[in-house]
Symmetry: C2
Subunit: 201 residues, 2 copies
DNA sequence: AGCCGGACCTGACCAATGTCACGGCTGTCG
DNA sequence: CGACAGCCGTGACATTGGTCAGGTCCGGCT
């Protein structure tokens, strides 16, 4: 009774290393790999695996988007997210998307194999250290503030942000100002950095 | 005659995967691993390996810094850099630091093992796709411009940048202005993004 | 020597950003 | 209903950021 796994990760070398490692386990079978979001989704639909192991940040479609899409389709595959740093905002969205496991790339490698097995057995597994952090920092920003900050983070001037969102320039300034105040920072750059670090963008 | 390797990479899970993979090769021996720059340096000094395989971005000290330090000490270890995306500026600095190999994490996993062997045999190996890109984009910024842009990228206001560098505020503005002009962008945010993407910070 | 180019540094000026006080709208609770 | 709280949207005003036109100093070249 082997566990059939699909593996998605955009960095080819890391993907290869994870795949080689999972194949070493006699009860695991890596049936397909993918290097971006859409390919990951297609691979799951084609191979009908027990578990999808995926990175969050991938070209085209994030691992979270893939998980949400599978959820909508009623696909039976259980999803394990593997990500770089503890962006607590991601975890929140991941849980909303029905993700079954959430592991940090900082963790020791054995943990990955363990989580795949436990998730397949029906458990929901989240790195405990991260689970703590997720709840003490809820996103304080409104949708509009997030929209504006996202564009500002790319270096767009207020005028252009206003044009894209069909707002007055003063309004854009206002949203940025409230975002800056809520996050307790000094300007849009620090605000963008903090929001990004916490997975709020 | 096994090749003795030290492996440095800050993400524990990736480190573990690479280590497991290299250990599968009969002619390679992973004698130590490290999760930050200073530990990598210490591990090389203690174990005197043939090859150091290291990430660029690590806490404390970058892989490039470690390579430069080894070079200065006349250490015999040959250095292979493994990094995420093709930041051409990094490659330039890497070659200056006497690095022997440079591989992208996007590449297939087999390449890593091959490069380690070829580097140990005395070759200098650089991902050819990347080697091209490195020379068509030289860093146009002066040292001072880089200093200022680095701090601006962290969100510091001009006044504070001026204080840290013992400059007048007008001077800071001027450096940022020239950097913005040279890079052909609209503001400090875009300038920081571009410089980062190209490995110029 | 005199000239030139480039990095470094500066203040004055205008444009972009951040703050504030204010309305309109919607939903909730007594 | 009326009071309240929260999000959305706006213009006027102060602060910060970007541009310009210089100035000094140093090394290379004629």
């Amino acid at each position: 009774m082997t566990i059939r796994v699909v593996l998605a990760e955009d960095q080819g070398m890391v993907l290869g290393a994870f795949a080689a490692l999972l194949r070493l386990e006699p009860d695991l079978d890596v049936v397909a790999t993918a290097t971006d979001g859409p390919k990951a989704l297609a691979a799951v639909l084609e191979h009908d695996p027990d578990v999808l192991v995926t990175d969050v940040e991938m070209p085209g479609m994030s691992g979270l988007d893939v998980a949400a899409a599978l959820r909508r389709d009623g696909n039976r595959a259980r999803v394990v997210i593997v990500t770089t740093f503890g962006r607590s905002g991601y975890l929140r969205r991941a849980l909303d998307s029905g993700v079954a496991g959430y592991v940090l790339k900082d963790a020791p490698i054995d943990q990955l194999v363990g989580v795949v097995r436990r998730v397949h057995a029906g458990e929901r597994v989240v790195d405990p250290q991260l689970a703590m952090a997720a709840w003490d920092a809820a996103d304080p920003m409104t949708d509009r503030e997030r929209d504006v900050l996202r564009l500002a983070a790319d270096g767009l001037p207020n005028g252009e942000i206003a044009a894209r969102l069909h707002l007055a320039e003063g309004t854009v300034r206002n949203y940025l100002s409230t975002a800056i105040t809520k996050l307790g920072v000094r300007n849009r750059i620090e605000a963008a950095r903090m929001a990004r670090d916490r997975g709020w963008l």
